[in-house]
């Protein structure tokens, strides 16, 4: 896929601005109707998905070149994919892919965002995006009696991901995840210092080659380990294994599950006993990479074909990614299974959830925008009357926690793992 391959999609945009709103059918109030953090914060049309689509066409037609504003527009986007769901609700256009391809092209053209350079350096030298040392990657697991996949066989490989591995404040919850699995009798192993980045975040920044490299490394490791299932508690890593690797032709027969999916399975199999009451009203934030971006990837090759004279269809039918099959209900099922917990929903949920703000390299390059986006979600969470905002991704938790700390708010932010831990 290259930008030019999306030209027909660009020519089929009608500039209706639906990409700026949650799907219109779902709008039921004034306050929480917008869906795109970028256009909501920066306002010029170019910041919307439709605006970036026009930018793509403008680039193809050599109408514009790279400027500082160009790069700001391109990278002040959380790559949350909400625009894609709203646009595709009513059209057959690959809207979000245009932003991704514009980023890839910018990188190929040497238009690198300086704020992203330390992350790339860290990745290339230390195999992580958190500027940590590779030798320290397994420190989060010190003292845990858990197998290392490079030394022992196991049925389940638990992939921690860069954020959990190097964000010490989050270590208690990832350690809890491993302990919960072990308590349920799961034969689980980790990779410790030998774990690598999944490549998802730098791919979103436009570095396609890095994704390929890490996909190959990670899949080779899984193959050698002979595991049946990979479980991760990071939504970004989940999307990398579940969606991005197959998308670039690097598939695996290993089952890919998010921790919420695995916990749900264990609860249903009655291997986890949730006995303790957790009396709390909570609201659930759908992480973008687990929800709409976590839809399973179905390989497709085909071509456009005209029917009814001028209507275009795809032959064979294209398995559209319209947000329909993301992981939405399972995390909610886990929450509902916890005694005492009362789940209250926000206005923008599931396929049209508002992003936490951390994605697409925004938390690294534009931290004030990341925080603005998080605060918008925190306001929405507070409007439900919930005591805690629950998520299922360390990036969301980090960004919400920082935003709450900066704003002096009191809303609790928790991962589902913490709730489950309290209930056992």
């Amino acid at each position: 896929m290259a930008l030019i391959d999306l030209k027909n999609d660009m020519l089929r945009c009608c500039r209706c601005s639906e990409c700026k709103w949650i799907p219109l059918a779902k709008i039921s109030n004034y306050r929480y109707a917008q869906v795109c953090p970028s256009i909501s914060r920066y306002n010029f049309h170019a910041y919307s998905a439709g605006g970036k689509l026009a930018m793509g066409l403008s680039v193809l037609e050599n109408r514009i070149g790279y400027t500082t504003d160009f790069l700001d527009i391109l990278y002040r986007c959380n790559m949350c994919g909400a625009c894609d769901v709203s646009c595709k609700c009513n059209k057959d256009i690959e809207n979000f892919a245009i932003t991704q391809e514009l980023r890839i092209k910018a990188v190929e053209d040497g238009q690198l965002l300086p704020q992203h350079m330390p992350i790339l350096d860290s990745l290339r030298k230390e195999d992580n995006t958190l500027l940590g040392k590779k030798a320290d990657r397994g420190n989060w697991s010190k003292g845990l009696d858990v197998k290392n996949i490079t030394e022992e066989k196991a049925e389940v490989y638990f992939h921690a991901g860069c954020r959990y591995s190097f964000d010490e404040e989050l270590w208690p919850q990832i350690r809890a995840a491993v302990k919960i699995l072990q308590k349920a009798g799961v034969d689980v192993a980790i990779a410790g210092k030998d774990e690598n980045c999944c490549g998802c975040r730098v791919y979103e920044m436009g570095y396609q080659g890095e994704l390929t490299k890490y996909a190959e490394n990670n899949l080779e490791m899984l193959k050698n380990a002979g595991v049946k299932t990979i479980v991760t508690a990071c939504a970004d890593c989940y999307q990398a294994f579940k969606v991005l690797y197959p998308k670039i032709g690097k598939s695996t027969n290993v089952e890919v599950l998010h921790i919420t999916e695995y916990l749900d399975r264990l609860i249903r199999q009655e291997k986890l006993q949730l006995n303790k009451k957790v009396p709390m009203a909570v609201t659930y934030h759908d992480p973008c990479h687990l929800g709409r971006l976590g839809e399973p990837y179905v390989p497709w090759q085909g071509e456009e074909k005209l029917v009814f004279n001028q209507m275009y269809i795809y032959d064979p039918p294209k398995p559209w990614r319209k947000g329909t099959h993301g992981v939405y209900e399972i995390p909610r099922d886990v929450i509902k299974a916890l005694p005492g917990v009362n789940l209250v929903e926000m206005s923008r949920i599931k396929e049209y959830a508002w992003c936490c703000g951390a994605g697409g390299g925004v938390i690294d390059a534009y931290p004030e925008f990341a925080q603005w986006t998080a605060l918008e979600r925190i306001e929405e969470a507070k409007s439900t009357g919930a005591e805690a905002l629950i998520t299922a991704c360390p990036w969301c938790k980090r960004n919400f926690t920082d935003a709450i700390k900066a704003s002096g708010d009191r809303l609790k932010v928790m991962d589902i793992i913490e709730l489950v831990e309290q209930s056992i």
Partner: protein, 519 residues
Amino acid sequence: MELAQDFYRAFEDVVGSENISVDPAIVDGYAFQPMGGARRGVRFFKRPIAVILPGTTKEVQSVVKLCGRFKLKVRAMGTGYGIYNIVGSEDTVQLDLRRMNRIIDIDEKNMIAIVEPYVSFIQVMGEAMKKGLACNVLGAGSQCSMLASYTSLHGNNVMAASQGYSGRNLLGVEWVLPTGEIIQLGAPGSGAGWFTGDGPGPSLRGIMRGAGGAQSGLGVFTKCAAHLHPWPGPAELEVKGVSPYYEAEVPPNFEYHICEFPTWQQYADAMAKMGAAGIVFSMQKTGGPGSVGNCVTGNNNEFYEKRVKGELAVPWKSFAIVMAGYTKEEHDWQVKTFNAILEETGGKIAPVGEDPMFKNSDFLCMTKACFIPRQPFRASGTFGVDGMVGIDTADHMAIGLEADADLYTKHTPSGVMVNDGDLNSWSTVYEGSHYALFECGYAISAINQENLKTYQKMTDEGNDLCYTTPFANNLFHMGELTLKRFGPKCMDYPKWMYKIKKTFDPNTVADPLVYPTGD
């Protein structure tokens, strides 16, 4: 053309550095206008000299005054959907009113909403429904700006039979004239609230928007009050499903049907009678433009597969109707009246609309106007109007639709339009009267330039037909060439427009692209 540095700084002083740009990556986005451009084979038009995002009426006023002083022009936009948002010349400042996005008030008792320019219909609808009210939504979809439609365009819509067109729902208005003066029309002009556009206080409704709206050719509207209507349904319509498969069950005391007729005249008679009987919440010819089958499916492949199996076929001479009653008694009366009108006019309920999936999807769209871009755009990327547009009586609508059906049939073999077997023209009646509109548009390729040329020939033929017959001689035409052609057929109304333009905009500060000076 570049904006002089001192001009830039003057504008920047008004709106702040975050809210002005001359960067090509920003301004080119405002030159991109496929809705109207695609059918001409064009995507990019002239670039504005700068884009400015004012946040208040005062800032709008300051920017307009500076444009006058710097001999620049100005064009304002709401949500920016449609070719009338492009600038006519490169010395034009584009005002994007996106930051002016507040619902100032929803006055339940007086059934009024007061809004700023970047409030969409669907936001007002969501809040109004909670108070047992609904707003009149432009046919272009509920994502559009309510203020832009009400103040500056004609605004046909599916609720027209009960609620009229956009301009008929306009009450008080705040207006920044091209001279920079701020005036308030109607009751707010005398500090009496926003409940009417016609006084106490100055009433310039005919001047500020006329029939078709000035389309930003007479300054900038910064606030307006809109009439809200009764909504007998739930405070929040329960919408089930995951995108793109959203549905809403028809609530108790509501009805949704597709009605079909043997002749266009019977079709038109039924529309007028149902409107007059006061039983309509929303009503429109099925299609318009683009198939209803698009509306009730999730993608083109799905629509195609169902359509070739014979599903989703909608009769040509048919309309969809939603009736909404507060009580069982009202509902029973509406159904009885509906059945009596069908009997009188030889109509019957078409089975296609009774399928639960079809009914629940199209009912949702007929209520929230939420699937509009699916209908005309998804199939082929764009649509074109074949020139056959008229606003007159219901009888006139019947003749127009029949003529359009002939034109469509004649040109179908060329393969230029999407032909799914349906006739995707559009029509409605207004406010329970015989006043009616027909509009004949078809899905055409957004990409194939040869097809667009062929379609242009069909459009020219439709335009000629309208010109040589009374079909489309009305007061809604805008733009210099069209005004020159149709004006003499319509009491020379452009002469009055030119006088108004000169009086209210003596230095032509408001971009004259669609509201010309006549010079």
